[in-house]
């Protein structure tokens, strides 16, 4: 992390640059979702839009985490803490995926048979 005045002044320029990228990234996300000629995949919302939108969001979130939250040069303890949180999230998402095999998603149970 920047600690000397010179390093901090240099970091400020990086923060401005990253801020600009975040603004642009947001605009790109909206354009991809709303402008027909930027609509990749099928017409309307589909898996491609989902992947694209979440990829841009993940890229933006990474910039916030690594630059603004200084994760690019943190101590090991922080990485362990953050990684454990992410692992738990992935586990939760995995549980959701497992749940898709649950009968609750089976139309049979709603169809009145």
């Amino acid at each position: 992390m920047a600690d000397t005045p010179e390093a901090i002044k240099k970091s400020v320029r990086t923060y401005m640059f990253v801020g600009a990228i975040l603004f642009v990234g947001t605009i790109v996300t909206v354009l991809v979702a709303t402008v027909p000629w930027l609509d990749f995949g099928h017409h309307g919302f589909d898996a491609m839009d989902c992947i694209l939108g979440l990829t841009i969001a993940t890229f933006k979130a990474s910039l916030v985490a690594f630059i603004f939250m200084h994760l690019n040069h943190e101590k090991k303890a922080v990485y362990w803490l953050f990684a454990s949180g992410l692992c738990m999230v992935c586990s939760l998402a995995g549980l959701t995926a497992l749940a898709l095999g649950d009968p609750i998603f089976d139309k049979f149970f709603y169809s009145g048979h």
Binding site: I8, K9, H43, C50, V64, A65, A77, M88, F105, K107
Partner: protein, 537 residues
């Protein structure tokens, strides 16, 4: 007492204490929001109704995203200013950050307000209309209830002649409400007959309340007290009698298990009757002359002749016409109807033609006919732009939502096509925030719409009750909003009360601001996912 490691790092972690604490907290926050995002995926994949894709207005969400990103930049600038010992710059950047938080919450408040006042109605045939309800009026003036408030045209009316209360379950605010309503209609609600009961063993029945006594919570409380005392006394007597029966039965059946003799153990109610007191489980009041009482749909199970409230109060009387009246409708949605029709193997077009709105509203028929024309145009455009696939069919076709939903922008476009006013500039921008502008566009664009009560399937404002999409939307954005408020309060504290610490130990304040900033960046990070997921997908 000196607090250790507020400026210097610990040797084992390499971090000052509050930093390790905030990262622990953020790791738990990652799991919290991760859980909600998982819930979102689960709800969306498991939805048994057409998921409202891209249903929220993008502009307020986009502006809020810019506001939060901007505040993320300024909060890190504020931290850098402290590191460089530039107090005035710190004040400026932190002030902007807190200001951004306020703007965010104001915009969020506007968005919520629009949702909470926008009515949706699913008819029994699964067609959906959206809009705003009117208010009850007479001679062009709004009718006011006993509290002086306007009455939304979504009430159930009963010409009540008798009210029967459950003496235990009656809900006090409703008793007062019914009394006040009857008084408003110049009707008297009074006990229909003397309330009598045996209150002492061996004594004749006593009059607890006389016929003609007006309805009040106090009166019901008095009857309830007598009822509960009698019920308690009777329960104790029955238990005592049953205990005696068991003793006798066990003596008569030595060696047998309890379950083997249980069927033969019964209380002799005839013998017990003289020792019991009179219970008064219900009490009836006459309404004279019968008064038109109104009830919110969620509070009453309405039926011809006798309706029942949620607290088991029975309302005797004629069920009056109680249509749900939209002052303006701004969307007609056949997506759910089509989904249901396909499940039953019915042609969607036939199902739509036979739907209640199509059969009973010329406006809906016109809108649908116009919409069909628009869909033809869109299909042609897609065909021209993308051609046909290997199977000989158009590669791209209109979406389910485009095919079967006529939203407020479609209705506005239809009106403009028919030569009606087109909004521009500030008015058009306002519509992106507040939804359709009924006043500017007029009744021809967004006309009234009345649905008889028997056609109402489910009605709700755009609240978590309407569907799981709004449930998860309010949960995630509400929780995020609370984080914004919490973070802004902490940052505002540093802004307004940090000077003393800055003068005594500026590095400590810088560390504190860094911690507050880390939380603020996390709030921004969550929104970076919330925006595309809830607003754009």
């Amino acid at each position: 007492m000196e607090i250790p490691y507020v400026v210097t790092p610990r040797k084992d972690t390499g971090l000052f204490n509050s930093k390790i604490a905030i990262w622990l907290f953020l790791a738990s926050e990652v799991m919290l929001f991760g859980g909600f995002f998982s819930a979102y995926v689960f709800l969306r994949l498991g939805a048994d109704y057409p998921w409202p894709e891209r249903t929220l207005p993008v502009l307020p969400g986009l502006i809020n995203t810019f506001v939060l990103i901007g505040s993320s930049v300024t909060v890190v600038f504020a931290w850098a200013s402290l590191k460089l010992r530039e107090w005035r710059k710190f004040q400026l950047f932190m002030g902007i950050t807190v200001g951004c938080a306020m703007i965010f919450m104001v915009l969020k408040g506007v968005e919520y307000n629009v949702k909470l006042h926008h009515q949706a109605l699913k008819l029994k045939d699964y067609s959906v209309v959206e809009g705003h309800l009117g208010v009850e009026s007479e001679d062009g003036k709004p009718v006011l209830d006993h509290k002086g408030s306007t009455i939304e045209e979504n009430l159930i009316f009963v010409e009540a002649s008798k009210l029967t209360f459950d003496t235990v379950r009656f809900y006090k605010p409703w008793v007062e409400e019914l009394s006040a309503q009857a008084e408003h209609h110049h009707s008297k609600v009074a006990l229909a007959a003397d309330v009598t009961a045996i209150t002492k063993v061996g004594q004749p029945a006593e009059v607890i309340a006389k016929a003609g006594e007006p309805l009040s919570v106090e009166l019901l409380n008095r009857i309830q007290a007598a009822h509960l005392a009698a019920r308690s006394h009777n329960a104790a007597n029955r238990t005592e009698a049953l205990r005696a029966e068991w003793v006798t039965a066990k003596a008569a059946n030595p060696g047998k298990k309890g379950w083997q003799i249980a069927s033969g153990v019964n209380i002799d109610m005839a013998a017990l009757a003289p020792t019991l007191l009179g219970e008064i489980s219900t009490v009836s009041f006459s309404v004279d002359p019968p008064a038109k009482l109104d009830f919110r749909p969620r509070d009453i199970k309405a039926a011809e002749g006798q309706s029942r409230l949620r607290d088991d109060t029975v309302v005797d009387g004629k069920l009056l016409a109680s249509p749900m009246v939209f002052h303006h409708i701004d969307a007609i949605d056949f997506q759910h109807l089509v989904m249901k029709a396909k499940e039953k193997g019915i042609d969607p077009e036939v199902a739509i033609e036979n739907s209640w709105p199509m059969k009973n509203s010329a406006f809906v028929r016109d809108a649908w006919a116009w919409h069909q024309g628009e869909i033809k145009k869109l299909s042609a455009e897609l065909l021209e732009a993308h051609g046909v696939g290997k199977n000989g069919k158009p590669r791209y076709v209109p979406t389910h939502k485009e095919l079967y939903r006529i939203g407020w922008k479609d209705l506005a476009k239809m009106a403009e096509d028919h030569g009606r006013a087109k909004l521009s500039g500030v008015d058009a921008a306002k519509e992106e925030f507040f939804g359709p502008n009924y006043e500017a566009r007029g009744d021809e664009t967004f006309p009234g719409f009345s649905v008889p009560r028997e056609q109402v399937g489910f009605a709700s404002k755009f609240t978590p009750a309407w569907n799981t999409y709004y449930a998860i939307y309010f949960t995630i954005t509400g929780l995020h909003g609370l984080h914004v408020i919490g973070g802004a309060l902490v940052l505002a504290y540093y802004l307004f009360f940090g000077k003393k610490m800055y003068l005594s130990n500026p590095e400590w304040l810088a560390n504190r601001v860094e911690i507050g900033g880390l939380f603020w960046h996390f709030v921004d990070l969550v929104w970076i996912f919330v925006f595309p997921i809830l607003y754009l997908m």
